[in-house]
Amino acid sequence: MNPNINISQKLLETVEQYLNKTLDADKLKAFEDRLKNDLEFKTQVEDIKTMLLGIEAQSLKETLDDFHKETKTAPHNITKRKTATNKSLWNFGKFAAAAAIIIAVGSIWFFSHSPNQNLYAKYFKPDPGLPTTMSSTDNYDFYDAMVNYKRGDYALAIDKWQTLLTQKPENDTLNYFIGVAHLANKNETEAIPFLERSVLSEDAFPLISDAYHYLGLAYLKDGNLTLAKKNFELSQSEASKQIIIELND
């Protein structure tokens, strides 16, 4: 915008008419001719156009926040497109990577805090969840709920996973995530039985260390120090080891 160029009321209103296509034929011709030949006039018109667009764009932007309150979340769409496949339902390939991230995040987070009395508040950080990729066609329901979990819609995620759990009550991953979702939802009492079931896994469960860690945290919050310690000791995570040191101090 050029500060040295003045914009008169007449010009403003002519540009409005031009943009609204309400200029009569003669005036339109004169206007367009001047646009072609008069550089200063062209700049003035461009400035006005930008301003009017800015008014509308910002007004729209402020309206969008109202619209946003009525949007539904992504999973509704995903559910519609769900494919009924159960094969390779619990592929743990990605889980190990997730576990590494959990440990890394947990460690960074641990070392960035100084000790205080509220150990739980100090050590608890929700499990970041598993990566959900666009190419996932298998196992839609599980990842659908994972999207809710990552959004912080823990109750909804729990509901969806509970439905899957009725088909696979012993599944370690499901029990683990329902447990950590309850814990993230500030409901440690509900979390405990699920986490307990997850550590009973007979298979090599890649998240076992994290499961013991969160179980320890759940007991810690629940006030059962003995069981909290027992589970922290079973976890290989750095955070659990540190909590034990602090608990023994």
Binding site: I7, T50, L52, Q58, S59, L60, K61, T63, T71, I78
Partner: protein, 190 residues
């Protein structure tokens, strides 16, 4: 016949958008958000990212429609266009240094969504952003008047009635508000 009907429908939709018809804008917004949210959430983003990116894309699409830069080819052309712009904007965020530094970037995610190379549609030029910012910070009486006239497309007579002024004074007031907005924008520009 079906195709012609659907195109006609798209054209009606574009006309409604051009006139800032709130029902059309809201319908378009609500219907297309979930897909964009799913895209962002599945590719290293959060709900807050999804909302920002979507709103930015929505405003870009609205601008393109207003400027006749967008011509529909089929019945869902506009919806697809909105999604593509949102996707491109999200790719830009993933590529940005700030994002890479602040997040553990899932490189795989980037590969998955970077599958088509549409030109980068960043039409929100600096000048427009400055004006938007200036309008955001303009005092409420002026903001309300300009919004009603330029965005809600209310008639000068209706606005004058509401303000209990005559149309000529309302026109003058509107002009002074535009001038005020321009001064504010020029200040931001410096």
């Amino acid at each position: 016949m079906g195709q012609a009907y659907r195109l006609e429908h798209q054209i009606q939709l574009l006309d409604a958008i051009k006139s800032n018809n709130s029902i059309a804008l809201k319908g378009l917004y609500i219907a297309n958000y979930p897909k964009v949210e799913a895209l962002v959430l599945k590719n290293s983003g959060t709900v807050a990212h999804a909302k920002d990116i979507y709103q930015e894309a929505f405003i870009t699409v609205w601008q393109h429609v207003k400027n006749d830069k967008f011509v529909p080819q089929n019945d869902t052309a506009l919806q697809g266009y909105l999604y593509r712009i949102a996707k491109n904007k999200w790719i830009d965020v993933l590529r940005s240094k700030a994002f890479k530094n602040s997040k553990l970037l899932n490189i795989e995610a980037l590969k998955v969504i970077k599958n088509d190379d549409i030109e980068n549609d960043d039409f929100e030029d600096k000048k427009l952003k400055i004006t938007m910012d200036a309008f955001k910070n303009l005092g409420e009486p002026c903001k309300s008047l300009l919004r009603q006239f330029y965005f809600d497309k209310k008639s000068m007579q209706d606005i004058a009635n509401e303000l209990k002024l005559d149309p000529a004074s309302t026109r003058n007031k509107k002009y002074r508000c535009v001038k005020k907005l321009r001064e504010l924008a020029l200040k931001i520009n410096i």
